[in-house]
Structures are given as C-alpha cells and as structure tokens.
Symmetry: C2
Subunit: 230 residues, 2 copies
C-alpha cells in the first residue's frame, strides 16, 4: 500500500495544482458538512437548505452522499454556502433545532494528490458573512498538522477568536464559540485561514448548534468558567 493509493485524489479536477491555479485550488481548500434538522420530515429541509446555499454561492462545487456534503471553492464562497444552508435549514425546521457538523481542510493530505502546497502559503482575506439574527453555539477544534508545534498555531487561533468576540472559553477537547451564526462561521473560517499562513495542512472541526432547548450550559465545571484568566 503506497501513500498515494489511499489518499483521496479528485479525478474531476486534474488541473488542481496546475501553475496559475487559484489559491484555494493550489492549497487544496474544501469542506465537508452535514445538516441535522431535528425533524421527522428532514428531507425537504436538507434539500431546501442546499438549494438556498447553491443560490448564495454558485461557484462552489457540491457533492452530496449519504453521510455528508463536499464543498470545493474559495473560503469566501464556502462561507457563504454554509451560512445560507444553515440559516435556511433553521428557517425550515419546525422544531427550530438544527445542528451542522463542519470540517474544513486545507493542504495535504486530503487533496491535490497528497502533495503539500509549494511556494508561499496563501494569505486569505477574512470572509464577509452577514449577520442572520440567529444565535449559534459551537464546539470547535483546530488541528495544525505536520508540525511539532501544534500548540502555537492553536493559541494563535484562540487569540483570533477572542479578538472576534465569539470565544466563550475552553471546554474539554474543544473551544466554545457563541454569537450570531454569521459571526461563528466567520470565526471558524478566519482562524483556519490565519493558521494556514504558517502551516500548510490545517483541519478544523465544529459542531454548530442552533435552537437547542438547553439554552446555555448549566452543569459541571467543564463548560465556560466565568472569571477564568484569559
């Protein structure tokens, strides 16, 4: 078994790493997400959400299977797709409770034939996502890969989330974010691209929850601890 044989290779994009390709293609940028509407009749919610997202971000390449949806495009376009999808799903779900599971990836492995991006890493501008009026809470983890110093970039990402105002504190195995859906998604995307300036391969995972009947964390010391030194 060679490394190449088990790494995903996108045969539909043979020019993925060609010279002159857009940064997001050269850097192997993409996302996977799954919408979880708390609804008996979940199919129209998911289809309606994907339709709204395609309209909002028509440049994104979308492939849905039975587990998740693959998105390929620029960070800005992926952000707009996700924002529209989750916003519409919340609108369409009678119970009002929707969760989105999100994985962002840039660099190798995962794309571009598992070859790390060559040349300078891209400096990506922050995304510009509108406020939705919907509150979202997320458990977020960011993984800088292929580097002995994982904590330095993680600290950089946490500082960026604190500056953005969405950081709500450390959890066990995750960091909590709170804010408008647009702010939370912006934090997820922008911290990932900021770390991507110095680390080629960066993955970020988040569980983004809207409309949970458990409005705020109430139990145990594992949740946000007010008064903890920041």
């Amino acid at each position: 078994m060679t490394q190449q044989s088990t790494c995903p290779r996108p045969p539909a994009e043979p020019a993925a790493a060609a010279p002159g390709a857009p940064d997001h293609v050269r850097m192997g940028v993409g996302a996977r997400f799954t919408l979880h509407p708390a609804a008996d009749d979940f199919i129209p919610v998911i289809l309606g959400a994907l339709e709204a997202a395609r309209a909002a971000a028509p440049e994104v390449t979308v492939r849905t299977d039975d587990v998740s949806t693959l998105l390929r495009g620029s960070e800005e376009q992926i952000g707009r797709f996700l924002l529209a999808a989750v916003d519409r799903a919340a609108e369409l779900t009678p119970s009002g409770h929707v969760v989105a599971t999100l994985a962002l990836s840039r660099g190798c492995p995962g794309e571009v034939g598992c070859t790390l991006p060559t040349g300078e890493l891209a400096h990506v501008a922050p995304v510009s996502l509108a406020a939705t009026g919907r509150r979202a809470a997320a458990h977020w983890a960011l993984y800088p890969l292929g580097t002995e110093d994982a904590m330095g970039p993680i600290e950089q990402a946490i500082a960026a989330a604190q500056a953005a105002g969405t950081w709500s504190g450390p959890e066990n195995f995750a960091t909590r974010l709170d804010g408008d859906l647009g702010e939370v998604l912006s934090t997820l995307l922008d911290t990932w691209t900021v770390v991507g300036r110095s680390v080629a391969h960066v993955a970020a995972h988040a569980t983004v929850s809207l409309g949970s009947p458990t409005a705020t964390p109430t139990s145990g010391p594992a949740v946000t601890r007010a008064g903890e030194p920041r």
Copy 2:
C-alpha cells in the same frame, strides 16, 4: 495570554495525572459526541439514548451541555457507551435516521493541563463491541498532532481499518467506513489507540450515519471508487 490560561483544565479531576492513575486518565483519554435524531420530538430520543448508555457503561463520567456530551473513561467503556447510545437512539427515532458526531481525543492539548503524557504510551487492547444488526456509514478523519510525520500514522490507521473490513475507500478530506454499528465504532476506537502507541496526542473525528434514505453513494467520483488500487 499563556498557554495554560486557554487550555481546558478539568478542575473536577485534580488527580488526573497522578502517579499510578489508570492509563486512560494518564493519557487524557475522552470523547465528545452529539446525537442527531431526525425527529420533531428529539428530546426523549436523546434522553433515552443517554439513559441506555449510562446503564451499559456506568463507569463513564458524562457531562451534557447544549452542544455536545463529554465522556471520560477507558476506551472500552467509552465504546460501550457510544454503542448503546447510538443503538438506542436509532431504536427510538420513528424516521429511523440518526447521525452521531464523534470526536475522540488522547494526549495534549485538551486535558491534563496540556502536559503531554510522560513515560511510555499505553498499549490499549482492542475494544469488544457487540454487533447490533444496524448498518452504519461513517466519514472518518484521524489527526496525529505534534509530529512532522502525520501521514505515517494515518496510513497505519487506514491499514488497520482495511484489516478490520470496515474500510470503504478514500473520500475528499475523509475516509469512508461501512459496517455494523459495532464494527464501525470498534474501528474508530481501535485505530485511534493503535496510533496512540507511537503518538501521544491523537484526535479522531467521525460523522456516523444510520438509516439515511440515500442508501449508498451514487454521485460523482468523490465517493468510494470501486477498483481503485489499495
């Protein structure tokens, strides 16, 4: 901002890294998961699933908030908890469609005051999870942290999944697993502990789907490609 100030510290477990502590405590082992029953009336499904899981794995420490549920315990106990929770959730969900979002973590950061485990890394025996008769499909990603060679351990994990018979092929940004729910969860846990023998900090994420109306992947080259050299 110091590293310590932003890292999760479990104040309820002050003796976490004490000499003589069980391996799973010394290694900072734990999990976060979220159940997503496709149901208007989702609360009794989640509560019923957690109740069944607590009965199946009473040694696991459980803390639920509005985004996810934290599990602390041995790998075997965490596996039994997850198996019972997802199995009961599928039983209780009228639509039959349930997704579980799962994050496994061992090592630093995330626990034990962000200090990497000292001494030899634990060799954990494979978990022993019963078959449920329920088919599950997962998108799985494993992240060895703090090491320049991320691909070597990832290849090791993929080989272990292939040996277990649950490996269904590479996806973009993930690996697909298929099998009985018990087999899929066993693969997720056992690959994570196998890599944990050589890498202190290992995270694994999976979206585990049961009863999707999209029975098998049908579109595009991004899904399992039959005939691809392994």
